[in-house]
Symmetry: C2
Subunit: 231 residues, 2 copies
């Protein structure tokens, strides 16, 4: 059962939901009269009573409205494409933890490559995760068909498990408007790619143990969240 | 493929592995002559060459030995029993992140109850996770058949998602020898249980979003690790 539904538009006290959300409401067996939560994905949460539920849309009456203000930072998770189950976990967990943008890119050792046709599939996963975790800010999803050059004005943190601890970056994280966590492919970046990346990013470790990709993303995103007061 | 195997005993330069590990070596198709890693679960990592692999045991020749020193703290994850797939994730992720002890307990609203007969099953999962993540310290696994009274000398942190952020506890965490992260059952603790727990524990939140149990465990354990310099 999702903990929130995505509202398509709000007209005065009426919340209008599209066909997909109406279908979802039927699947999880909510009924007119039920009190539910909705979000617009842009920072507003609504409590509402479901009034009408039909095949193509549904309508609710607003009970309350709460607007969340976003801090002026952007936290990005930028990962090499990988096998679907792990990629899906990364999309879900990054959304749960409030990342603002998720970038997926191909690189030399990518086994399961992505192209723009996948973006809608990825956005659906992110939307479901936002509904489940009641994240009022829907993360943006971007696909890069090759390893992008990361903006050198951003703080780009590459998890390579070898260098100094990420905890040495706390002050830099606090002082940055854009923080990007970069995770390589399962087989690792090539030497050439690492050389290129090192121009704009800082390599860090998450301790001596080998973490699975989703664990590394959750741990480092939590660290960033704690550092900037988001958690 | 595990990244390390559990050695049963070490005689000079010879590493002896039991039947279970020998079987595991066969399953993952390692062969005599392969260079591998082993741990005793008590802080030592060995590099070795596999020499003999038979049905009931296997033998390796030590190449190097590295002893890790444990800091003088104990980090405990203490969770209400829950459905197997989530419980398994918690056992795995807590081991990956180097928890020293994992306690599983029953309480009023526990759906899937545990008793001592489950402890071997849980230990197997923890052992597999330690092998996969090359954690040289095997966490202890303890089952409590009812909600235990937590030692009031420990810092007991209860994740209830409502109170102040866990980040307010950083100094307390740094000053504590034993830190325990407590996670309730899916349906939540009863009012009575919360009243009892509040005598010895501090309630904290992990932010406004709803985190799945395993995400909450990873995030809070990472925070403790960062706070005490383990990550």
């Amino acid at each position: 059962m999702p903990n929130a539904f995505f509202v398509e538009r709000v007209e005065e006290k009426r919340l209008i939901f599209d066909e997909i959300e109406a279908h979802h409401m039927k699947v999880v067996r909510v009924k007119p009269g039920d009190e539910l939560v909705a979000t617009d994905g842009k920072g507003t949460l609504y409590e509402f009573v479901l009034q009408e539920l039909s095949k193509n849309y549904s309508v609710g009456r607003m009970l309350s409205k709460k607007v969340f203000h976003h801090d002026d930072r952007t936290v990005i998770v930028s990962v090499a494409s990988m096998k679907w189950l792990r990629l899906r976990l990364i999309l879900e967990k990054s959304t749960e933890l409030g990342a603002d943008r998720i970038e997926i890119f191909n690189c030399e050792r990518t086994v399961a490559r992505v192209d723009q046709r996948k973006v809608e599939k990825f956005r659906r996963i992110v939307k479901e995760a936002a509904k489940q975790s009641v994240n009022p800010f829907l993360p943006e999803v971007v696909i890069h068909e090759k390893l992008p050059r990361f903006n050198s004005d951003d703080l780009n943190i590459f998890l390579d498990f070898k260098k100094e601890s990420i905890s040495t970056l706390q002050e830099k994280i606090r002082g940055s408007n854009v923080v990007r966590i970069i995770v390589g492919p399962e087989g690792g970046f090539t030497k050439e790619e690492i050389r290129e990346m090192q121009q704009d990013s800082i390599s860090v470790s998450l301790g001596s143990r080998i973490l699975r990709t989703e664990t590394a993303v959750i741990a480092s995103l939590s660290f960033v969240n704690f550092s900037i007061g988001r958690m």
